[in-house]
């Protein structure tokens, strides 16, 4: 594994942003006819994961999962086709945006808050059983860190010294409930001692900081020292789901965050400040990412919907 450069991470962030924007286009058209949860504003976290994970490491994500899938290497076309409810999708259109499964890459998601960590714990146990040296990353939001499975999984991982990395994307909100009102402590990372775990809070808008902290967390788990909690702070740029009126947040707070704390803009500025690339090069990079995604979307849109006659397949893999 070679660690991507900042420029490469920036490119990944651009691709992630344009992927999310493409998905949004399916909502008003009802090509995506259920809820869609966008991770716009949280790209630096997923981009910070790049380079630390092996193919046999597991990542288990949540309802807000697209960027983790991309970071794990899931095929974007199959993903987008799944999100657009196509038979060519990652799961043939049966799962949809909240339920992405890639067995080979050990990537999966769940629409139930808190349900990601137990699955990740199972991967972590498998790594120890098989002596593979793999780790398992379980993702949760700040809201999800208050549900019971968080505790059960971290306690087991601590007691059994399992290679579990709990990645908390603290975007300050769980739907309409602010982090500060739902949590007993000012940070989530400070829960680590309760589980004999490694813990760190990192600025999740700073892709370099995330990269370093995530690598450290993974290294801790991979070395057999037990679980790690990495809390990455960020801000939910969109409503909870596309279409959420989002009236419960102060409009000016949101506007300010979008204007001043956009991880893409911040990274771009760093690249410019350091002279890694110029405006034109970065603009071209952004345009290329958009163009590639637009092409992808156009292509996915031509795919067929799953055949109604297959709707009762797969209940049992044995066929009965």
């Amino acid at each position: 594994m070679s660690t991507p450069t900042l420029l490469e991470r920036y490119r990944a962030m651009l691709e992630m942003r344009s992927f999310e924007e493409a998905c949004q286009q399916g909502v008003p058209t009802r090509e995506v006819h259920g809820e869609l949860h966008s991770a716009i504003g949280q790209e630096a976290i997923a981009a910070g994961m790049l380079g630390s994970l092996r193919e046999d490491d597991a990542v288990v994500s949540t309802h807000r999962n697209h960027l983790h899938a991309l970071a794990k290497g899931v095929d974007p076309r199959a993903m987008m086709a799944e999100i657009f409810e196509k038979s060519t999708g990652l799961c043939g259109g049966f799962g949809g945006h909240m339920h992405l499964f890639d067995k080979r890459l050990r990537f999966s998601t769940t629409g139930i808050v808190g349900a990601s960590l137990p699955v990740a714990l199972g991967h972590a146990y498998a790594a120890v059983l098989g002596g593979t040296g793999a780790v398992a990353v379980g993702v949760t939001g700040d809201g999800g860190a208050n549900i019971g499975s968080f505790h059960e999984c971290l306690n087991i991982a601590g007691a059994w010294k399992l290679p579990l990395v709990v990645l908390i994307e603290n975007n300050e909100w769980a739907i309409s409930v602010p982090f500060s009102e739902s949590t007993a402590t000012p940070t989530l990372a400070e829960r680590a001692p309760a589980y004999g775990a490694w813990g760190k809070r990192v600025d999740g808008l700073d892709v370099e900081a995330v990269t370093e902290a995530f690598a450290e967390a993974v290294a801790h788990a991979r070395a057999g020292h037990g679980p790690a909690i990495l809390e990455a702070t960020c801000y939910r740029f969109r409503g909870h789901y596309e279409g959420d009126l989002d009236l419960y947040r102060k409009a000016d707070e949101k506007a300010q965050r979008l204007a001043e704390r956009d991880p893409l803009a911040l990274t771009r500025q760093t690249l410019l400040d350091r002279g890694v690339a110029g405006e034109a090069e970065l603009d071209a990079m952004a345009a290329a990412a958009s163009a590639r995604t637009a092409e992808l979307l156009e292509s996915v849109r031509r795919d067929p919907s799953p055949a109604p006659a297959t709707a009762h397949d797969h209940v049992f893999v044995s066929g009965r």
Binding site: E82, M98, E181, T183
Partner: protein
């Protein structure tokens, strides 16, 4: 028992009807408290608690962390203290994380205490399909109904939503109140039955089904969002096809077998339309209940349609294929009257 006042009747939608009902209950009885995710500031993700926090304060209408075991279990302590908690579990699919509190505590404490401890708790939740796939589309009323000690309600209209919620809150028994997401999001003007909602408080009693369309050839038993589909088909067939009696159950527990059996005794044909999973649930209970009461010989034809033991798929093309929509209802009526 249903008070129908012609004055001050409005067209409001289901979420407004529920919020209005809760408001009236909270105003009547200061012991009523509402707990759940996003029920306060936002007024519920479907708006069915809108305005309550502003009116009654953040203690009585409490936004909780995502911790269903804790806040559902809180209802038990609150009930012992004399409160009447209304707990919202955002989607019924999430019951998997707190069924314990609902079925082993809330449902059983009245019995385990030998009748000494009441559990006047409402578990308010949303079920049904609106495109969000296997983990956000279930009905699960059959699951609750199988477990003793829980009343189970699933209204089909704004009118009934308001009146049944009043009944649920005033009930000294625990009630699982399953709103349908499709109905919660439906515009007021588009309801074809139960659209008129009196302004004042009224109660639609638990356990009384509603014959929403009279008929003589087939008894169609259904509930929740399927009622409007059944009604539409029955109306379409009026005069031209079989005469279909449509019964809206309103409550799954208690199940109003009196009303069902009275109808089947006339029609001899029973069709159950249920958006929940078909197997081991409501549809089997209705059929068995009728067969037990009337004897199998009283029936000429029996059928049920629903989600045939398949999780709800994501793609719309697949989702439509598993749901018991109007076409499926038409075909089923054909079959039982053939």
């Amino acid at each position: 028992m249903t008070v129908e006042t012609s004055a001050a009747v409005r067209n409001i939608n289901v979420s407004q009807a529920i919020a209005e009902s809760l408001r009236l209950e909270m105003a009547r009885d200061e012991k009523v408290v509402v707990l759940g995710e996003d029920v306060g500031l936002q007024g519920g993700v479907f708006g069915s608690t809108r305005g309550l926090q502003r009116e009654f304060g953040a203690m009585r209408v409490r936004d909780t962390p995502i911790a269903e075991m804790a806040f559902t279990g809180m209802a038990v302590g609150l009930a012992i203290e004399g409160y009447r908690p209304v707990v919202e579990i955002m989607f019924v699919d999430f019951i998997g994380v707190c069924l314990e509190q609902v079925f082993n505590a809330i449902g059983k404490i009245p019995y385990m205490s030998g009748g000494r401890v009441e559990m006047p708790v409402v578990i308010k939740t949303a079920g049904g399909c609106i495109g969000s796939a296997a983990q956000h589309s279930q009905c699960l009323w059959g699951t609750f109904a199988h477990l003793p000690g829980l009343k189970v309600v699933a209204p089909s209209s704004p009118h009934d939503s308001k009146g049944l919620m009043a009944a649920a809150v005033e009930s000294d028994d625990p009630v699982v109140f399953i709103e349908h997401k499709g109905l919660l999001l439906q515009k007021a003007a588009t309801f074809e039955h139960g659209a008129d909602v009196p302004k004042e408080r009224y109660v639609v009693p638990l356990g009384q089904a509603n014959v929403v369309h009279a008929g003589s050839d087939v008894t169609l038993v259904t509930l929740s969002a399927s009622v409007s589909d059944a009604l539409a088909v029955a109306q379409e067939l009026d005069g031209t096809g079989p005469s279909v009696e449509v019964i809206d159950l309103r409550t799954v527990v208690p199940l109003d077998l009196d009303t069902i059996c009275a109808s089947v005794a006339r029609t001899g044909r029973l069709l159950v339309v249920d958006e929940d999973y078909v197997g081991f649930g409501l549809s089997g209970e209705v059929i068995s209940g009728v067969v037990e009461r009337l004897g199998p010989q009283a029936l000429r034809a029996v059928k049920r349609i629903g989600v045939a033991d398949t999780p709800i798929p994501a793609a719309k093309s697949l989702e439509e294929a598993v749901l018991p929509g109007r076409d499926a209802i038409r075909r089923a009526i054909d079959e039982v009257t053939r």
